[in-house]
């Protein structure tokens, strides 16, 4: 059976002679609700007859012909006839509202008294609540200048919050050093375990591949001059000074920074942070400091590990594809990398550690009180951390370059 015949609704515009609107309902061959509307012209009024079931799953007949009927003739009044009306719900009321609104635009009176009392009641409710004066204020169009002011205000607000957080953290650090606040040592070990050994597999994989990529990229150019041996210099310097630290930092901001934001954010949602405060523990010292300390301790070690993995990855490519012996590769590497390169990597990585912990914990502490806010805090922690890392890395690289180290 086709869909159309399943939902049979019809519109019948009766002849102006006043012919009875009879038998407009098709035979009920199916249980689908049927409804119909018809307009019968009377002397100066139009009688709108509603019949059938006006419910949600009925296919409603189009209103336009009825509306046209109201408009085209010199009609002063609308009356309703509901003798054939079956079941109905809000669908009928919505259609009636359209009709009544149209009629009032055209200056045609509507005799609501001819409707059943329950429908009248609903229509009265519709117009019962008075308009609030400023209800439309939000819908006002904002111009670009307003948007600029608003976003500048937000940026200023964000920087202010960041400064406040850093300030509070410094105060808590000193309070902890003076013994006025404290954190639990076992927490520190737990965080070290969480961000150190547990991160080794992913750091291994990424660093090996980065070393490999560096070697390939360099080899393409260097082998043009037959200088494949310098791949060792490229990889080892590239890893120790830049890529080792940077890649570790980016992995850790996604892995640990987001986790910190989510952990602290969830504690916020559960009012665990408030509970800590009422139990006379400084959440900054208790939650933020051990996390930050763990990252500051672990990041340089991870960075060192990433450097080694990168050099191994590079070595694999150089030895296997570019005709350089393992001894030569190791020898070039040892002569290319100085202690200062490792130290630069170390320092950078400690700074990245602080930045990751800072953005993770800050977004966690600023988290709202809902479940979706925790997700937002995680996302925003990663974004903030990566921006901080890249900016800090550029600044430190420029400083190193200017100082000639």
């Amino acid at each position: 059976m086709s869909l159309r015949s399943a939902h049979t609704c019809g519109y019948v515009l009766s002849a102006p002679t006043g012919m009875k609107n009879s038998k407009i309902l098709p035979p009920a061959t199916h249980s689908a609700p049927t409804c119909a509307i018809s307009a019968i012209r009377q002397a100066k009024a139009v009688e709108i007859a509603l019949s059938g079931d006006w419910v949600l799953d009925a296919q409603l007949p189009p209103l336009e012909p009825v509306l046209a009927q109201i408009e085209t003739n010199a009609i002063k009044k609308i009356i309703f006839s509901t003798t054939a009306l079956g079941r109905w719900d809000s669908m009928l009321v919505t259609e009636l509202i359209k009709l009544i609104d149209y009629a009032s635009q055209k200056g045609v009176a509507v005799d609501k008294a001819s409707l059943p009392a329950s429908i009248q009641g609903l229509l009265t409710l519709v117009s019962a609540v008075p308009e609030r004066v400023d209800a439309h204020r939000d819908q006002a169009q904002t111009s670009w200048s307003q948007a600029l002011v608003v976003s500048t205000g937000k940026a200023v607000q964000h920087s202010k919050e960041m400064l406040i957080f850093v300030g509070e953290m410094i105060i808590s650090t000193f309070a902890t050093l003076r013994g006025q606040a404290h954190f639990r040592r076992q927490d520190l070990w737990l965080y070290i375990q969480e961000c150190g050994p547990s991160a080794l597999p992913i750091v291994t994989l990424i660093s090996l591949l980065v070393g490999l990529i560096l070697a390939f990229v360099g080899a393409v150019q260097l082998s043009l001059f037959g200088a494949q041996i310098y791949i060792a210099n490229l990889v080892s310097l590239g890893m120790t000074r830049e890529m080792g630290g940077l890649m570790t930092a980016i992995i850790m901001s996604g892995r640990t920074g987001a986790a910190y934001a989510a952990q602290i954010g969830t504690m916020h949602v559960n009012s665990e942070i408030d509970a800590l405060k009422t139990m006379n523990l400084d959440p900054m010292a208790f939650l933020v400091l051990p996390r930050m300390l763990a990252l500051i301790i672990i990041m340089p070690l991870l960075c060192l590990y990433a450097d080694l993995m990168g050099i191994i990855g590079g070595g694999f490519v150089t030895v296997n594809f570019f005709d350089v012996s393992l001894t030569e590769y190791l020898d070039r590497t040892a002569s290319a990398v100085k202690m200062k390169d490792f130290i630069i990597g170390f320092v950078k990585c400690s700074v990245f550690g602080i930045l990751i912990a800072l953005s993770g914990c800050m977004r966690g502490m600023q988290c709202g009180r809902s479940a979706s806010a925790v997700g937002d805090a995680g996302t925003s922690a990663v974004v903030t951390a990566i921006v901080f890392i890249v900016v800090a890395d550029s600044v430190m690289t420029i400083i190193c370059n200017r100082l000639g180290i």
Binding site: K98, D101, V126, S127, V129, E131, Q180, T266, D274, N280
Partner: protein
């Protein structure tokens, strides 16, 4: 003022307190007293700043104007260290329980003792079992917070709040979202802890029945002001229309059922 007791009988006295969040005024010159050893309830509809009041008493927020004295000390004049000392004597029970999720029930109750005292572990064990027994959950000490029902979590939090034998406990919506049996258990616990431990209890709630059953004195807050106060019986008989609506939970009254909105008809037609 109806609550006329000598000043030393008041553990908390708030005078002329004003506080706003941004442009919104939460409290406007509120004054109230909380008597020592009694159960005092602060009631009012959601969003009237009942929890904010508790945070102000606990010194987590600072008022714009006015003073809060707890046990004779002006909370917002104290040095950080003194404030922390005072807070140790104020237990607080949060709506969600606010248990630390990565610790068992036992460790949660032991937590404040481990952090703030140097008691040996054997004594902590005795104390923890005692507190857990008081709330009827000694057998649940190995469970983790996510294995507890809402009512049990609140009872564990209560055990944690009384871990350091505070002067007073502030309950933030203790009955919200509880089944009748848990509610009954909490009502019984709050009352019996108050009498047996000689505590002072402050209950912030909008559950009229339960609160009226245990409170000695009730303050009703709305729109930043105290609009009714007295014993539960006095409030039931109050001639303020607002208090009547609140105490009996009528749908319409001085507080309207409809949040003010644009005209319904216009709203419906606007989408088209």
């Amino acid at each position: 003022m109806a609550n006329s007791a000598s000043p030393e009988d008041n553990i908390v006295s708030i005078s002329n307190l004003s506080f706003s969040r941004g442009p919104r005024k939460i409290f406007d010159a509120v004054s109230l007293e909380i008597q020592r050893g009694k159960v005092t309830a602060i009631m009012g509809p959601s969003g009237t700043g009942k929890t904010t009041l508790l945070k102000l008493i606990g010194g987590q927020l600072a008022p714009d104007r006015g003073q809060i004295h707890v046990d004779g000390q002006n909370v917002h004049r104290l040095k950080t260290r003194e404030l922390y000392e005072l807070r140790k004597r104020m237990g607080m029970l949060f709506q969600s329980g606010a248990l630390l999720t990565d610790m068992s029930v036992y460790d949660n109750v032991a937590f404040p003792m481990r952090e703030h005292t140097h008691l040996p572990e054997s004594m902590i064990r005795t104390l923890v079992l005692m507190k857990l027994h008081a709330v009827g959950l000694r057998g649940a000490r190995h469970l983790m917070p996510n294995e507890l029902s809402g009512g049990m979590a609140r009872r564990v939090a209560l055990a944690r709040a009384i871990a350091l034998d505070p002067l007073m406990i502030m309950y933030d919506e203790p009955f919200t979202g509880q089944d009748p049996i848990s509610k009954g258990a909490l009502v019984h616990l709050i009352k019996s802890l108050n009498t047996t431990l000689g505590l002072t209890s402050i209950i912030v709630s909008h559950d009229v029945q339960e609160t009226a059953a245990i409170a000695d004195y009730i303050y009703v807050l709305s729109g930043g002001k105290i609009i009714g106060q007295g014993t539960p019986q006095e409030l039931q008989q109050s001639d303020s229309e607002w208090v009547q609506q609140f105490m009996h939970g009528d749908a319409d009254g001085p507080v309207h059922f409809h949040y003010s909105a644009p005209d319904y008809l216009d709203d419906l037609l606007a989408s088209k």
